[in-house]
Symmetry: C2
Subunit: 530 residues, 2 copies
C-alpha cells in the first residue's frame, strides 16, 4: 500500500475512471436525468482543509506507530459511505482522529488500547477503510477527550500455511491483494473477492461478515473462519483451530460481525480453496427479472453450488453495459480444482432452459471472461470509482443489499423498489433510477442488491440521501428483509438494525461488550449504544 | 410418544435388543474380555425406588401440565450418559425433579418460568431426554428450593411449511419421527438423523448443535436453522427469518449450542431438502485406517459433498459386523432430489482408488441398503440399546467424538487412542477395546468418534468410567481437539470445555446469561457456572 490513499474517493491517488469511463458515466447520467449539463462543484483541496490541533499525544513507547500528520488524519476521518463523501467534498473533516495508530503486532494493539483507556480516548478501528456504512468515523462520547483511529495495515502477513488442511494463519490487517499474493506460491487461495477486495482487510471482512466471490454455499467469510485471535481491552481471546465443533455457542460467531465493538481481530486461521483448474460459465438471458429469479431458485435448490450465479434486471444489465435493457441476465459459472464441471453446468443450464433461459453466451472455460459476463465483471470492479465523479455533479448514487425468503421475494422486490423510486422522485423532484440484481443466493432465498440514482441539490445532498435511504430501508424492514446482507451495520444502518434484531439479543450483546470493553473504548455507536 | 419411556435404558418399554442381538453382544464381549461369564446384577425395580416427597406444588393455573407422578419423576431424573445408567441401575434417583412440567404452548413455557422464578425452583430442560453428557439431570443451587423438569413433548407440531423456500416452522418439542411424518405429505424432509433421532427433539438438536445425517457440508443442525423463537426468563426472543444476513453477530448463533442456559427453544424455522430421487453408494475397503483417511481427505476437499462419507477402522468395522477386522472401510453415498449423481460418485471413487480403495461393494441406487454399508447402518441404529444389556454385566461401553485439522489427525488419533487404551487397562486391570470411526468430515479436517469397552467392577463403575473418560478427554484437549463435535457439553464435559473455550468468552457468555436469566433458573452448571 505504498501509494497515498485518497481523502476523497476510492483507492489510491492516481487511480480512477479513465476518460472513456468518465464519458460513459456522463452519457448514462445525461440520459438518466434528461439533461446535458450538471451543476458541478469543486472538491475541497487538501491544503484548504483545517483540522483542530490534536487533543492528545502518544506516549514515547508508542510514538513510532502514532501519527498526527494532517494527511493521515484526513484519510482516517471518513471511509466510503455517501455522507462521508459529501462531508469530504465540502472539506468538513471535523470528526478527524487526533492520532492515527498503526500497530505492527498484537502487543502494540494491546498497548494502544491500554493507553487510550488511560487517556480517555475513543478507539475506532479503521481496518482497511472501505466501510460503506459509517463504521470507521471517529466518535467521542461520554466524557472521552480524544479520538484514536486504529489502522491495521502494519499487520499484513500470511503467517503460516497448512496445505494438508488447506488453511492459513493470516494477520487481520492483510489486504486482499497481499493476502492472495502470499498464498499463491503455495498453490492455494482464499477466493474471497468482495468488491472492496483491493482496499479491505481480512480482519475487516470478518468483523463485517463480508460477502465475497462465491454466489452460493460459501457466500460469507463466516464459513471460512477456522479460528480467531482478538485483542480486547480486557485481554486476548484465542479460539481453538477446529474444522467443526459442538461445544457450546460458537465463540467465533460472537466476534464474526461484531464490527469492532468487542475487540480487534488480529489474526485468523481461514479455510482455503485449491486454485481452480476446471471452469465453465457465461451469461444466460431471460425475458424478465422474475423469470430469471425462478431459474435462480431452481439452481439454488439443486445442490449444484455454482461459484457464480447472479441475476441482473434489464436496467441493471444495461447500466453495466452487459445488456440493452430488453432482457434480464444470469451470470453463471462453475469452477473446481478437482474435477471437470461439465455435468454440473449441463444440469444448471437445464434448470435455466426450464424457465426459458437463452444460453447463447454459455461457453467453455473462459466464457466467464468474455461477452456479457465479462462486461458485467469489469463494471463490477470499476463501480467504486464512479461516485467521486458523479457526486460533484450533484448525483446521488448508492446501493443497499438485503435478503429475503423465496416465498416473499417478488412482493418484497416490488415494495422495496417502488418505495425507493417514489422516495427518489419525492426528494429530488424528478424520477431517477432504481435497479436490482441478486448477488448471492441460498436454497431458501436470494440476496437482492438495489442501486438507486437521483439528481440531488448541492448543499442538501446528505439530507436527500438520508431521506431516500430511510424510505428504502423502512420498506426493507417492514417487508421482512435484513438491513444488510454483507455491507455491515455501522452507524448508518443503526435505526433499522435496531428494529431488526431482537431487543433481548441487543441487551445480551451489550452485556458481552461491557465484559470485554468495560470503558466503552471501541467503535462507539456501532451496533449498540453503551 | 404413547409408549412409556424406560427409566433405565434407551427408548420406550417393549423396545430393545432381540435375543439374537443379545447373543451377538454376549459373544462379542466374551471374545473381547476372554471370559465366558460375567457377574451380572439386577436393575432396580420401579416399585422399589424411593423418592422424597415433592418440595413444591404447582399453582392451579399450571396443574394440568404439571406432574409429580412417581414414574414421571423417575423418567425425568436421568438421560443417557454413562453415570446416569449406573445410578438408575442402582435405584438411586436422588436428583429427581419435584415436578415434571409439560407445556403445550409458549405461554405455558413462560408461565412455568415465571412460577419457578417466584418459587425459587430450578428449571432443567429435558427436551427429548436423550442427552449423553449429563445435560438434563435436575440440579438445585444457591438457595433454590426445588427442581422442575421441563418436558417439551407437548409442543410437537409442524406449524407451517413453505415449499417455495423449502423451509418449515416447527415446534421445539417435535421428535424426529413426528417431524418427518408431518413433512412427508409436503414432499420435503429435514434429513437430520442423529443416532438419537427417535428420542430427541428439534429444540434439543438446536440447543446441542446436533450432528446428523450428512457427513459433509450440512453436518450440524446449525446451518439448517433459518430463525428461532426462544422463551427466556426475561421474555421472548424471536429472530428474523432470513436466508442470509450480515447484520451484526448472528443472534441465532448465540442460542444454537446454548444447551438451555439462556432459554427454551420453542419454535424454529428450519431449512429443508427435497426428498432424494437419485442415489449411489456402498462400501469401499482400504488396507488400513490412515489410508482410508487419506482417501477421505481427498473426497472432503474435492467439492463433491457426498451425503455419507464415513470411515471405520478395522476393529470398528468388525464390531459392527461390517468387516472381519482385516481392513478399514468407507461408507460412501451420494443422494439428490435434482440430478443423477453418477458423475459425483465416479469422481469420488477415483479419489478412493488413488489410495488403493477397493470398491467391490459400490453399486447403484440401493447399494447403501445392502452389504457392508447396510450392516453398518443397522448396527448404528441398534447401538443405543446395547448398554442396558452390557452394563448389568459390569461392562463399561462409551463413546466420545471430537474434531481435528488434517495436519494433526494421525498423531492426534494415536495419542487419544493410546491414552484411552492405557486408561482402560490401568482402570480395569485388563486390556479392553478402543476403536475409531470418522462420522463427519470437513475440507480442513475430520471428526473422529472413539468407542471404548472395558470390563469394570460393580460398585465402582461410575468412578472407573470417569477415570477412563478423563484420561481420554485430557488427551483430546492436550492434542488440540474439541471436547465434543456434536454430543454437547452438558455437565460431564465441563472440566475439558473449560480448558477449551477462551476464558473471556466464558465471561461474555455469563454476562449474556445474567441478562436473559438473571435468577439463574435454567440448567445450572451446564456450560458455565453463574
Amino acid at each position: 500500500m505504498a501509494a497515498r490513499r485518497k481523502y476523497f474517493g476510492w483507492g489510491s491517488e492516481g487511480e480512477g475512471l479513465s476518460e472513456d469511463e468518465k464519458a460513459f458515466a456522463l452519457e448514462t447520467n445525461r440520459a438518466r436525468f434528461g439533461r446535458t449539463d450538471f451543476e458541478t462543484v469543486a472538491v475541497a483541496k487538501e491544503a484548504d482543509i483545517r483540522l483542530a490541533a490534536p487533543r492528545l499525544a502518544p506516549p514515547a513507547s508508542l510514538a513510532a506507530i502514532c501519527s498526527s500528520d494532517h494527511r493521515d488524519r484526513l484519510t482516517h476521518t471518513y471511509a466510503q459511505s455517501f455522507p462521508d463523501y459529501v462531508h469530504a467534498m465540502a472539506g468538513d473533516f471535523s470528526p478527524a482522529p487526533d492520532i492515527v495508530a498503526t500497530p505492527r503486532n498484537e502487543g502494540e494493539v494491546a498497548a494502544v488500547l491500554d493507553w487510550a483507556g488511560g487517556a480517555q480516548a475513543s478507539v475506532t478501528i479503521y481496518g482497511g477503510g472501505s466501510s460503506v456504512c459509517g463504521g470507521t468515523e471517529p466518535r467521542i462520547e461520554r466524557g472521552q477527550k480524544a479520538a484514536v483511529s486504529l489502522d491495521m495495515r502494519g499487520m499484513g502477513k500470511v503467517v503460516e500455511v497448512d496445505k494438508t488442511s488447506r488453511a492459513a494463519l493470516i494477520d487481520g490487517g492483510t489486504y486482499g491483494p497481499a493476502l492472495e499474493a502470499q498464498l499463491k506460491p503455495h498453490g492455494v487461495t482464499l477466493r474471497h473477492f468482495p468488491q472492496s477486495f483491493e482496499y479491505s482487510t481480512l480482519g475487516g471482512w470478518i468483523a463485517t461478515r463480508s460477502g465475497g466471490h462465491f454466489a452460493t454455499l460459501y457466500t460469507h467469510i463466516d464459513d471460512l473462519v477456522e479460528s480467531l485471535r482478538i485483542v480486547t481491552p480486557k485481554g486476548l481471546v484465542e479460539t481453538r483451530r477446529l474444522p467443526g465443533s459442538g461445544a457450546g455457542p460458537s465463540p467465533d460467531r460472537m466476534f464474526i460481525g461484531s464490527e469492532g465493538i468487542l475487540g480487534v481481530i488480529t489474526r485468523a486461521w481461514v479455510r482455503l480453496q485449491d486454485r481452480p483448474k476446471f471452469r465453465a460459465g457465461g451469461a444466460v438471458r431471460f425475458k424478465d427479472f422474475f423469470t430469471a429469479a425462478r431459474a435462480l431458485r431452481a439452481v439454488s435448490q439443486s445442490g449444484l453450488y455454482p461459484a457464480n450465479c447472479r441475476i441482473l434486471d434489464p436496467q441493471e444489465a444495461k447500466n453495466t453495459g452487459a445488456g440493452d435493457g430488453s432482457f434480464a441476465m444470469m451470470v453463471l459459472a462453475f469452477e473446481s480444482g478437482d474435477h471437470d464441471v461439465t455435468p454440473w453446468m449441463a444440469r444448471a443450464l437445464e434448470c435455466c432452459r426450464d424457465h426459458g433461459g437463452d444460453a447463447g453466451e454459455i461457453g467453455g472455460a473462459d466464457a466467464h471472461r468474455s461477452g456479457a459476463a465479462d462486461r458485467w465483471r469489469t463494471a463490477f470492479i470499476r463501480m467504486p470509482y464512479i461516485r467521486e465523479v458523479t457526486l460533484p455533479m450533484g448525483i446521488i448514487d448508492d446501493t443497499f443489499e438485503t435478503s429475503i425468503t423465496w416465498d416473499r421475494f417478488e412482493a418484497f422486490h416490488d415494495a422495496v423498489k417502488d418505495a425507493t423510486a417514489q422516495a427518489v422522485k419525492d426528494v429530488s423532484g424528478q424520477p431517477g433510477n432504481v435497479t436490482c440484481r441478486v448477488t448471492h443466493v441460498y436454497p431458501d432465498g436470494p440476496a437482492p442488491y438495489f442501486s438507486f440514482h437521483a439528481l440531488g441539490k448541492h448543499g442538501q445532498l446528505a439530507e436527500q440521501w438520508l431521506a431516500i435511504k430511510s424510505r428504502a430501508l423502512d420498506a426493507v424492514i417492514d417487508n421482512g428483509g435484513t438491513v444488510t446482507h454483507h455491507h455491515a451495520v455501522g452507524r448508518d444502518h443503526r435505526p433499522w438494525y435496531d428494529r431488526q434484531r431482537p431487543p433481548l439479543f441487543a441487551e445480551a450483546l451489550r452485556a458481552a461488550k461491557k465484559t470485554l470493553d468495560p470503558q466503552g473504548l471501541l467503535n462507539a455507536g456501532v451496533l449498540i449504544d453503551v
